[in-house]
Structure formats: structure tokens, C-alpha cells
Amino acid sequence: LITKTDTNPFFVKMKEGAEAKAAELGITLKSFAGRVDGDHETQVAAIETCIADGASGILLTASDTSAIVQSVQQARDAGLLVIALDTPLNPIDAADATFATDNFLAGELIGKWAAGKLGADAANAKIALLNLGISQPTVDVLRNQGFLQGFGIDLADPNKWGDETDPRIVGHDVTAGNEEGGREAMENLLVKDPMINVVHTINEPSAAGAYEALKSFGRENDVLIVSVDGGCPGIANVRDGVIGATSQQYPLQMAALGVEAIKAWADTGVKPEPTPGKDFFDTGVSLVTDEPVDGVESIDTTEGEALCWG
């Protein structure tokens, strides 16, 4: 199992899910991770290690979805099954299979929810977008652009954020995906325009940081924060009203499915099939909120808590 980092709870849970499943199936699992998000070379080294180690398959969440392809090919040539988890490779068929959240869809859900929640005010909303990092990793772009699409904003180039011209966007800032960055980015954008009322955050920790900033500005009650992930602290934050809505994804399931698929490959040589209609196996995403909006399917926090990870 090779993840982007092993410091993000999402990947930690993914690892735990894989470990549990591996123990159940009697498989040996070794885990590798990059140092920081975007740390591509360490992932390449990890793939090489797996080949040297004689592994039968690799579960991979790629930091650079295009760049990793050559190494993946090397592994497949060496007879390993490579399954992309969470993040599809580019091109998607570079891996034998992909078990992923549809991150664009995840963004779209919270975008729609936010638009629905504001109703008519959506036309003159003031939006802050708190992203991951200036290197614009794919998930970051997909969630950001999905959100804007869902909210009804023209995307310009859907492969990058920051090129939109819609006046409702106050600005983009980067958070490194943690509370500290979330707070500072939110403060910066609030000084720029104190009337911000919609905040998209890349993940729940940055949402928590953004909330602290709003609190210090005394605006925590009249701003909608939306996020993606569905970790247990995040769901609890939705319940407490810190976050308005979040798109929940299922890393445990991704990992478990991945481990099963590799087991099947090792035992019988059968490769997993993608979800019909998509070119990857969608592990699903659901919107979690206690204030459902018409036209957007959602589950409440009780249900979300039952499904949350970490």
C-alpha cells in the first residue's frame, strides 16, 4: 500500500482498513508513504521497493497521477497488480483498476448544497475557496472545481483553480490541509472582504481552522462552511454546526476492496471490474448535513457518524 502521506488521517484510516482486511485474509501488507503531499520520488522508490520485494500487488494513491505512470508500468511488467485508490491515474487505464471517490462529484454535492441553502442569495454570494497547496494536486483541483460547478460558476479551465472570473469569488488561498493554514487563509480572505458568506474548504481540518478565524471576526454564525472527507471529527463538526455540510468518502472500503482484489489476483488471476458507466470502481460519496436541501440527496450526521472513519 502506497499512500501520498501517512500524516493525513484519511490515509491513516485507509491503511488501517487495509491492514484489518489483510489480517482477515492472511495477507502480508507493507505500507509506504510520501513525506508530504506531492512527494513523488518517494512513491517511485516505494514501487521499486515492492518490485524488489517480490510483492504480488500494489495499492497506490498517487501524488502525481501522470508522472507515476511509468513506474506503474514497470511494476505491471514485473507481474504486479496495480490498483489506484482514491485518485485515478492519468490515463486511468494505466492502473489495472481504480477504487476511488469521485472527487469532482464530492465537490459538486457541496456546491449544490451551498447554492440550495442560500437560495436566491446565491446570486450575490461572496465565496472564499481554501485549497490545499500552490502545486494544485489533482484532488484539490477536482474538489474545488466540482464545488464551483455545483454552485453554478463558470470554471474556465477545469484543470486548474484560480482562473475563474466570476465576481462572487473573493479569492483562493492555500491551507496545507491543516487547521493552522485554514485559519490564516481565512483571515487573509476576510480582511480582503469581510462579507464572505460561503467557504469551500479542501478538508475538514482546514474547515476547523477557518471556523476559528470566523469566530475571531465574530462571523461564525452567518457563514456557510462546506468541506469534503467525512472523518469522524468532521462529522462531529457538522453536528455542532461548525461545518454546514461535508461530502463523505469511504477510505476503509477502498482499501478493503483493494486488498480483496489483490488476493483474488494472486489466487485466481482475475482482475476487478469497474463500476458500470464509469471507468473506475466508485466507492461512493454521500453528502452529510443536518440541514438537507431540496434536490440534493443527503444523509444526516447520525448516519454519517455510523459510517465515518477516524
Binding site: 484560480g162 483562493h172 493552522e180 485559519r183 476547523a208 461548525v242
Partner: protein, 352 residues
Amino acid sequence: MSNQTEAETDLVARAETIASFEHQHTLLSRIQHALHSNPALVPLIVLVASVLVFGALLGTKFFSSFAMTLILQQVAIVGIVGAAQSLVILTAGIDLSVGAIMVLSSVIMGQFTFRLGLPPAVAVACGLAIGTLIGFINGWLIARIKLPPFIVTLGMWQIALASNFLYSGNETIRAQDIEANAPLLQFFGQSFSFGGAVFTYGVIFFILLVLALAYVLRHTAWGRHVYAVGDDPEAAELSGVNTRRILISVYALSGLICAFAGWVLIGRIGSVSPTSGQSANIESITAVVIGGISLFGGRGSILGMFFGALIVGVFSLGLRLLGADAQWTYLLIGALIIGAVAVDQWIRKVSA
């Protein structure tokens, strides 16, 4: 070059001269001399200039007591860590582990309260103790085993960061839980305001810390010894300074200050998060160097670091308000780091 290290108290140079050749006292030469003998003055001027420029460009949005104190809040953590870093760099060392110590301490404060169920005050004390201990180990390895500071703290950085992730299990403790069960952890997040200015206790702590360290460095034997060790350790040893004890105490104190930074961090972000502070080492070094403290030790003042940290804060916020996007801001801050130091160097050359 005179009084390189004597900046803190007397911002106007003294005219104490035993015997002196006659020479002209023009206004310019006085300014030059003042700049020259007070290393903290240059970053102060850069700071004031940049505030004025951004104020002119942005008007009251930037030039308000609210925005000004917001910058203080944003730089408080880097600044506190920068104070620790300043001490270390004055001894001609470097501490790459500051950020890791900070996060590990904050995680310990949180987890000891919530996982072990210790009273918050005890958990905070444990966090501070562990920060100090790590600093002490750094100092011991550097002073006794004579390993290079860069390498020791590079290793310790990785060790502390990995321990942090392993111990916390990457779990965040939520702000709401802390508020309900252990408000002491968020102590430094409390604030008071007058006018539009908002001061958190963390900011107050930062300012008091800088003033206290400035006093200690300038007016106590320990402080003079820190400079002497950084200047020429062999000479300091021969002239009667216990260099080992000084080095160990500096690193241990640095660890303690970083642990305090961890506590302040909880106040700022509300929650306890193991992923914070990963670039605190580079940012604190940036503040120190922009503040005019020499990386070769023995020269500079902690007030300079204070202004250095504020310069970075002013630029970050100012550029974002001017509408530069994140990548451009990043680029411009790079250029401005170089620019600020170039101005500093230029002023020093004029007055040399």
C-alpha cells in the same frame, strides 16, 4: 562595527569617547552611525516603510488597527519559535527541530488531557517538560559529543515529527471538545480588544517573551556569554566561559519556548492537530535572518527578529489584499526576502 551587539536598550548611540580625532558630525553621518550600531534599526525601518507602502496602496483596509493586530496574531507563533531560533543562531547553531518540538508538545498537552485523563494543568506541564527535554538532548549532543547543530536538529526534527504522528495516531482533538473539557489548553487564544485592535494572550506572550529575552541577552552575564560562544567558542572557553553549559542551556531553553509555542498554537487553531507547524523551522529562520541576526553567530539582536517576523507578516497580508494569488504571493515573498536583506546590506555599506 562598534556595538554590533548592543542594540536593545540604547537606540541612540552614546557619545562616550575617551580620546577622539576631530571629525564632522553631520546629520547624515549621525544617522549612519545610529543605523550601524543598532542592527535592529534596519529591519525596523524596512518594516515601517513596508507598512506605509501597503497602507498607501490599500488604504484603511490595511491601515487599520484591526489589520495591524491581525498581523501580530498571524506572526505570533512563527515569532515565538523565532525567538527560540534566535537564541540558537546567536550561538552559531541552527535548530531545524523547532516546529517538530512545537507540534509534539501541543499533541502531548492534548493527548495527556484527553487520552490519559490528566488535569489540563498537569498535561501542559508535561508538554513543556518534554519540549525542554528534547531541547536538552539537542544541546547535550551538540555541546558534549560535539556534533554539528544542523545535523543533530535535522535528525531530531525527523524523530520528533515521527513520534508526533505515531503517538497521536494522526488524530485531531476538536476545538469544541477542548472548549468544553479543558479550556486551559486554549488559554492563549483568549483575547481582549480596545478600539479595533484585538490582542490575544498569545500575542501578549510573544511580545513579553521578546522583551524578556532582549533584557537577558543584553543585561545578564548569561546573555553576554551566549554572544561570546557564538562569536568564537574557543576564545570564549579560554577566557572563562563554560561553553558547554551555555550551549546546553540555550538549546533547552529553545525547546521550552517551542513547547510554549505549541500551547499558543492550540489557542490559535482551537484544536490539537498533529499536522501543524511543518514549515515553522524555515519560517523562523527567515524571520531571524531578515531581522539581521548573523547565521555565523554572535551578531544581531532579538528585536531584529521581532521586526523580521512582522515584515514577513506585513508582506503576506498586504500582497493577498492587493489581490496577488497564492502562487504570485509566494514568488513575491521570495523576491522581497532578498530585497529586504539587500537594503539592509546597502545601508550597512553606506555607513561603513
